[in-house]
Amino acid sequence: MARVFLASTLRRFTGGVEEVEVEATTVRALISDLDQRFPGLGKHLRSGLAIAIDGEIMANALYETVPEDAEVHFLPPMGGG
């Protein structure tokens, strides 16, 4: 089960829940699961947010694999100079 940590700005979708466990092998499946539990969250997560899986930050990660027992964080869209 992946452990998904939800930043403060996402908790308006979750009623304050900070951490959930999700059975998913891809980011897409993980987001679908979260959207079923917290309606509206999925659209927000797909709208350009970056994701960190076990500490590795990546963008455009919808089809990435989520390892068993991974730690998953959603992050704001990020760029640099």
Partner: protein, 762 residues
């Protein structure tokens, strides 16, 4: 001269590498020092017109009418455009320099429609046969304005009675959402644990309030473009930018065109630092060219660069830290408000996420506000958002260390984030080198050098994420055995050299037999911008992957020639060798020469979305001397240590480290946007907006720390941005060490330093 203590930079000291870690002269170096390199303004085409842009004299005004007919009547004027000539776009997010760009905002930024939102905001443009005619045409355009109240200061812009820039702006991130519009575009909150409760258990608490001003990236080359739209509607755009694919995408979007109608050719670039990660004049020149049926060149003046292109945000920050007597940080809280300029999108959330990232802090509450105001829309600037946040956090941490009577570096090491620690922004760190950068400064001779009277020493650390994203590369083996390496990454900081070095390492051929090329949008696969410290990591991975495919092909061809299994062929230092030595080796030249008979030209491409970018840390020490009579601060000595993962070309790593520090010192001591009471910028030129020059700075010593990034084949971490994060705090802490005064406002100019000395009875 630069003192590079680490890493070892000879091949002997880099076991396993022949080319990586060496210092060849950059392939584009000769052209750049002789003036042969061609930059944005250097292209001239037959029949080319000169474009110019009409800009608002008001900081905030409603456009009641624009009459361009007098301009069109001027001899030599061939085209005039206003906002009405561009499609009106709906709000839609795209990728941009600081994370996201809203194309509706971008289309209003390149050409105002109903309102001008800052002095310098474009509202019309002309193309004429001469610059004189173009300027006469601009002067002839009649604009009726209804001047509106304006607001510049970030806290003023947040007040309930502030002039509102956008009537539809409702603050995001508030629950419940506000019912009335304001200039606060968004609120961001990052928190962990219970900061308020933890502060109650602290032995030392320090809280301060900081102010920083907008500063410009200060690239020497102004924005410049030549656009040529042909009769069939296809456009060629020649410009300098940090991403020619970005220019294609944005220009097409803003004109309502298909991207494939536009070919963008990357000119050499004379500096960007994040400021060239968006478009300003490129869509305008393209539309003028289409209307005129002739090529159009637009080159910004320095005045226009300051008044109409992104500086980075000014800010107001309140920051508080609590620590136990043993030096352990127990809690932190911060309130940050950043100016976004005329449209939403300041880097405040990145500042929030970076400001405590070097440390393991169990309880924190950090709140950020993105605030629009009547100045140019901010653009990315090296580690966007992080430097002003670090100015606050690293100053307060210095004060906490002193209150605890601890060495400031030992205090930082006592709280240093390490592998496995949950970063302030959420995820657990993988292998990182923060502690090593602190140790490098602690152990450097600079840190123990005696100081004289009125002199002081300060340290500070900084963090930046670094990114991966999409890149493409193509490698051709030429018929003489040399190679061409094409990428889509504009070369801003020496990336041609690093691409060539990685290709030389993989192919086993001399680096000077490799020609690194920055290819146009029709010659290479899509490549994201040169920004986010991503190119050596991400584009480098594409080069490595393409080279490995080429090597596999070379081995297969040798196997074909020898009539053996390919597994019996290995590639060693640019030669195919039979594992049992049954055949004389075949060099790259041999295999290139016979390529027509073994399958045709030898070439391979790779495109990827690079994962595994490694985060960056820098720790720096600064010595200053403060003149108590004038308030002038002289930088006596400066040393910066940075984790580069693996320095592919150490000289260009050092160059990035030194460049970041130089810009940070300018930010600390001199640079700021000055506005008059009407919101007009008072210092839009390098005479009055003073960036540091060589005579202002000592040689900046560099210590390259190498803690390899496990996400890159050679261990590369991005190096372009983090160097600018610590300098403001390092300088401020040094001034405190010299004077006993804590300066909380940037820049720490002689006037402000002298005022602080006077207020302290000096």
């Amino acid at each position: 001269m630069t003192t590079t203590i680490a890493p070892p930079t000879t091949t002997e000291a880099n076991p396993g590498y022949k080319w990586v870690g060496t210092r060849p002269v950059r392939h584009d170096g000769l052209d750049k020092v002789t003036g042969r390199a061609r930059f944005g303004a250097d292209l001239t085409l037959p029949g080319m017109l000169i474009g110019a842009v009409l800009r608002s004299p008001h900081a905030h005004a409603r456009i009641l009418s624009i009459d361009t007919s007098p301009a069109k009547a001027i001899d030599g004027v061939k085209a005039v455009v206003t906002g009405a000539d561009f499609p009106m776009l709906e709000s839609e997010a795209g990728e941009g320099g600081e994370g996201e760009v809203d194309f509706r905002d971008l289309c209003h930024n390149i050409m105002a429609r109903d309102k001008v939102l800052y002095e310098g905001h474009a509202l019309a443009a002309v193309a004429a046969t001469s610059r004189r005619a173009a300027l006469a045409a601009l002067a002839a355009i009649k604009v009726d304005y209804e001047v509106l109240p304006h607001v510049i200061d970030v806290e003023d812009a947040m007040m309930p009675d502030a002039p509102v820039l956008h009537e539809d702006m409702i603050t995001a991130g508030m629950d419940p959402a506000p019912e009335t519009p304001s200039n606060v575009a968004a609120r961001y909150l990052h928190e962990r644990g219970d900061a308020e409760q933890a502060f109650a258990g602290a032995d030392v608490i320090v809280e301060r309030e900081f102010t920083t001003k907008p500063v410009h990236q200060g690239y020497i080359e102004p924005h410049a473009v030549v656009a040529d739209v042909a009769e069939d509607g296809r456009a060629m755009v020649w410009c300098s930018s940090q991403g020619h694919f970005m220019v294609r995408t944005y220009t097409a979007k803003l004109l309502g065109w298909e991207p494939s109608r536009i070919k963008v050719i990357p000119a050499e670039i004379g500096g960007g630092f994040g400021g060239k990660t968006t478009v300003y004049i490129e869509p305008v020149a393209t539309l003028l060219s289409q209307k005129a049926g002739r090529p159009v060149k637009v080159v910004m003046t320095r005045d226009e660069v300051f008044r109409a292109t992104g500086p980075t945000s000014g800010s107001k920050i309140r920051f508080k830290v609590g620590a136990r007597r043993d030096g352990t940080i127990v809690a932190a809280s911060g309130w940050l408000a950043y100016q976004a300029g005329a449209f939403k999108g300041s880097p405040v959330e990145l500042g929030v996420m970076c400001m405590l990232a070097p440390y393991n802090v169990p309880n924190f509450h950090l709140e950020g506000f993105d605030v629009v105001n009547n100045m140019p829309k901010v653009a990315a600037y090296r580690a966007p958002g992080a430097p002003m946040a670090a100015f606050a956090s690293e100053t307060v941490l210095d004060e906490v260390a002193r209150a605890l009577d601890m060495d400031p570096l030992e205090f930082r090491m006592a709280n240093a984030a390490e592998e496995g620690v949950k970063a302030v922004y959420g995820p657990r760190f993988r292998r990182i080198g923060y502690r090593e950068t602190v140790e490098a400064i602690r152990d450097h001779p600079h840190y123990s050098e005696p100081l004289g009277s009125n002199q002081g020493r300060g340290v500070a650390s900084g963090f930046w994420f670094n990114f991966g994203s999409v890149s493409s590369a193509t490698v051709h083996i030429n018929e003489d055995g040399g190679a061409s390496v094409m990428t889509g990454s504009p070369d801003i900081g020496g990336s041609r050299a690093s691409m060539a070095l990685m290709a030389a390492e993989e192919l086993g051929i001399d680096v000077y037999r490799i020609t690194p090329i920055v290819a146009d949008t029709e010659s290479i696969g899509f490549t994201d911008m040169t920004g986010g410290s991503r190119v050596t990591h991400a584009t480098g991975m594409a080069v490595i992957e393409a080279c490995r495919t080429v090597v596999a092909d070379l081995r297969a061809r040798a196997a074909k020639i020898w009539d053996v299994d390919v597994d019996d062929v290995e590639w060693v230092e640019g030669r195919a060798q039979h594992v049992e030595g049954n055949h004389p080796p075949l060099t790259t030249e041999d295999l290139a020469e016979t390529s027509a008979r073994t399958g045709g030209p030898i070439t391979a491409s790779a495109s990827l979305n690079a994962r595994g970018a490694g985060v960056a840390f820098s720790t720096q020490v600064c010595d200053v001397e403060v003149d108590p009579e004038t308030g002038a601060v002289e930088i006596l000595r400066y040393t910066t240590a940075q984790d580069a993962g693996r320095a592919i070309h150490p000289s260009y790593v050092e160059g990035q480290m030194q460049g970041g520090v130089a810009q940070g010192i300018g930010w600390a001591l001199n640079e700021e946007y000055l506005f008059d009471r009407q919101g007009v910028m008072e210092n839009p030129g390098f005479l009055d907006y003073r960036i540091p020059v060589a005579s202002d700075l000592p040689m900046i010593d560099t210590v390259i720390v190498e803690v390899p990034n496990p996400g890159h084949p050679y261990g590369v971490r991005g190096v372009g941005e983090v160097g600018i994060v610590p300098p403001m705090a390092a300088v401020a802490n040094a001034i405190h060490d010299a004077t006993g005064l804590r300066l909380e406002e940037l820049p720490m100019s002689p006037v402000r330093v002298l005022a602080a000395i006077s207020a302290n009875g000096g």
